[in-house]
Amino acid sequence: MPKLKKSFQTILLLLVALTMVMAGCSSNSKSSTSEGNTKSDNEAQGQPQKGGEIKIAYGVDITNFDPIKGTTGNDHALLWPVYETLVKFTPDMKPEPGIAESWEFPDDKTMVLHLRKGVTFHDGTPFNAEAVKFNIERVNSKDSQISDLKSIESVEVVDETTVKLHLSKPDSSILLALSDRGGMMVSPTAVNKYGADYSQHPVGAGPFEVTNHIPNGQIDYAAFKNYWKKEQIYLDKMTVKIIPDANSQINALKSNQVDFVPGIAAQNVSSLKNNPNIVVSNENTLGLGMLYLKTNVEPFNNKAVRLAVLHGIDRQQLIDAINFGQGEVAAQPFPKGYWAHNDSINIKYDPEKSKQLLKDAGLNDVSFTLVTYPIDWWTRLANAIKGQLEKVGITVKIETLEANAAVQKFMTDKEADALTGNWSGRPDPQMTINSLYSKDSFYNPGKISTPDAESLILEAAATYDQEKRAELFGKIVNEAIVQEGFSIPLFTTPAIQAMNKKIKGFQPNLLGKPIFSTLWVNQK
């Protein structure tokens, strides 16, 4: 028996030893390859190469493959490969032709679209004026969740490639609204064929077709052979893997199971940058970190309190502490360099002014409840704001609720005075202005407005000249934020994407939503 016992223990020891040797071998081989790879790191983007496939990690699955059904901003990156939009946007968010080749506005309530010839949907259905009419009427139907195209009263088919949109009121945001969900063209044949099951069989005219979708698992895309601009599409296949956990996403990238990870958290940037196999793209976006206020109840029904909060927050300190210095302070929903940005709008951090405002209004012991989410980034933000506002004499009570519940509480419960949140940006500044500052918007739960703001918003909607629009947006923001404090902008949200260095061709845009179809793989 003792002999057996001994041999058994020897085998175990041997096994352990073997494991260690193997561990040593494999880590050696790994370090030598990574050294070899650093040399080619400085190569330029180079000529795009055809072929290959890429794997993308994505945090959430698409809510619905039918563009009129889903609502979250995370869907766009997964919809764009499938659906071609009538209008497209440049990286700095100016309109450019999509499958509508050109357009004109004969008067401020009519828009004429000239469609591209030779475009077909994945199922072979030709894209034409009838298809546009079908789609826009579908977007404005009862089943749709899209409200961007509500100003379109009727759609008139002029000929095979010309459509006339009749608007019920002037709407200068209509052009870029057609680059959003509302402009995503679905195949009328497929909608009629599949009915309620359409979302399981999405058919668009975009560069990729969905070949397989495992909900919460993965989406497989294959290049569409008859895409109208197929020389500009390089990949044969794309696979999107749904990986909800941020650490798991980064692990998958580091161990080469995925090649591209959009939406990296600011705190992970420095560790990824140290990895020679990984390239990080970090760009400013139209997105904002914000404080939404309930302006129809105490204490935010008092303008002095709103302005005290506006000036009592040290935005740069928040950026340094929460976002590791990434992003810039925001006094308006439009970042520097964007055409609607207005240089003259600034909000100075001025705790003395805040105290004075409260004193002049005869207020002391001001307090409010701030609703936030049980995610460490958000609770850190809420606590930092709480600390800063304490210095000007405002007490903040933090209440942490799961996202869905938090939003509902803020919308319906009188006790929830403020909500931390992201504003995800919209293609057209008018859409942003409407959503954030118009009286009947979802993002304005207190329904606050001033006569000046209302008339300026209407005026901007009826103005089609870009320069005049920019000027009007400046005036609106000045009224809504600087004068009145409808809501509190904090900082711009950077869009951080990490990718394997063999992935090329990524073109960031100000909207911050990644476009996958321009990517290509360096196979050398």
């Binding site: 058994f8 880590s27 979250t72 909900p215 909800p244 996202a403």
Partner: protein, 314 residues
């Protein structure tokens, strides 16, 4: 007699299903957050909210909603996901097979590991092997599976690069990558199982090793090896069968965490996502499947128990 027992057990299942589905149905409606608001996002206007609520039948009383769901479920219609529009039974079929592969691997690891530790610790009493087994029996239940999972990923995937950090391939598609990808999640899932089986089997083996019939066997000159495997183990396994049956249910629950960390598209991820979105048709479907599975496994456990132990009468 046995047949009667089977029938009686089957009859228990019906009220059990009714009560559990009703509880889950009410719980989903009790958690704060509104599926309609979650669906509409920022396009939510008052009219739209009311309209969608009516479309989904959410404006009706809870009991009525439940009976409506129940009636459809009995007729084999679990409805559609209120978010993606996918048929619930389709989503369940897709994910159930994935989760089952994970759970079966976890069960195999637990049973093999548990048997190994328990038997070695009895074979070499008070040796270092015994101490390792005892230590492991406590440690395995004390360490949460997500921590194990993360440590395993850091070491075996990122440092050593032996196995992928995330992902899943079905065994029917590519058995080799299935094995590579299932090892870490399977092990994270099984750690608690190994510990529980080790402790139960070890103490139950200790009892039977002291039993009279084993002493008699020794006196006849059988080796310790034979005493354990031929005489002691079969009797010692009896209480462990129950443990293994219960373990199945625990493991099914633990897949929720493990699937999230390893990005495995199974039922756990499906239900976590559905809870976040208040997609109650999906949640209800997953819960129904999980309950049925646990009931079936308990049922099988009882039968196995009866087969292993002829003394048991019904």
């Amino acid at each position: 007699m046995f047949l009667k027992f089977l029938l009686r057990r089957l009859l228990y299942v019906i009220p059990m299903l009714l009560i559990t589905t009703l509880i889950v149905f009410s719980l989903i409606l009790l958690i704060p957050g509104d599926p309609v608001l979650a669906m509409l996002g920022d396009s939510a206007t008052h009219e739209k909210v009311e309209e969608l609520r009516r479309q989904l039948g959410l404006d009706q009383p809870v009991m009525l909603q439940y009976f409506h769901w129940l009636n459809n479920a009995i007729h084999g219609d679990l409805g559609r996901s209120i978010f993606t529009g996918q048929l619930v039974d389709e989503a369940l079929m897709q994910t159930l097979f994935v989760t089952m592969q994970l759970v079966v691997v976890g069960m195999i690891f637990s049973i093999v590991g548990g048997l190994f530790f328990a038997i070695t610790s009895i074979y070499f009493p008070n040796s270092w092997m015994d101490y390792v087994a005892r230590f492991f029996g406590t440690l395995g239940t004390a360490i949460p599976n997500f921590l194990v999972a993360m440590v395993l990923i850091i070491f075996f995937s990122l440092k050593l690069n032996w196995v992928p950090a995330t992902g899943f391939t079905s065994i029917v598609h590519e058995p080799v990558s299935f094995l590579q990808q299932i090892i870490l999640p399977g092990f994270s899932l099984s750690l608690a199982g190994i510990a529980v089986i080790t402790r139960h089997l070890r103490s139950s083996l200790m009892e039977t090793m002291d039993a009279d019939y084993v002493r008699t066997a020794y006196s006849k000159g059988v080796s310790r090896y034979q005493a354990i495997f031929k005489h002691s183990l079969q009797n010692a396994m009896l209480p462990v069968v129950t443990t293994i049956g219960l373990l199945f249910g625990t493991m099914l629950g633990a897949t929720v965490v493990v699937e999230t960390i390893f990005a495995i598209p199974g039922m756990g991820q499906l239900v976590v996502n559905a809870i976040g979105q208040r997609d109650f048709t999906i949640v209800q479907g997953v819960v129904l499947v999980m309950i049925v599975m646990v009931i079936v496994i308990n049922f099988i456990t009882d039968i196995v128990y009866a087969l292993l132990d002829p003394r048991i009468e019904y």
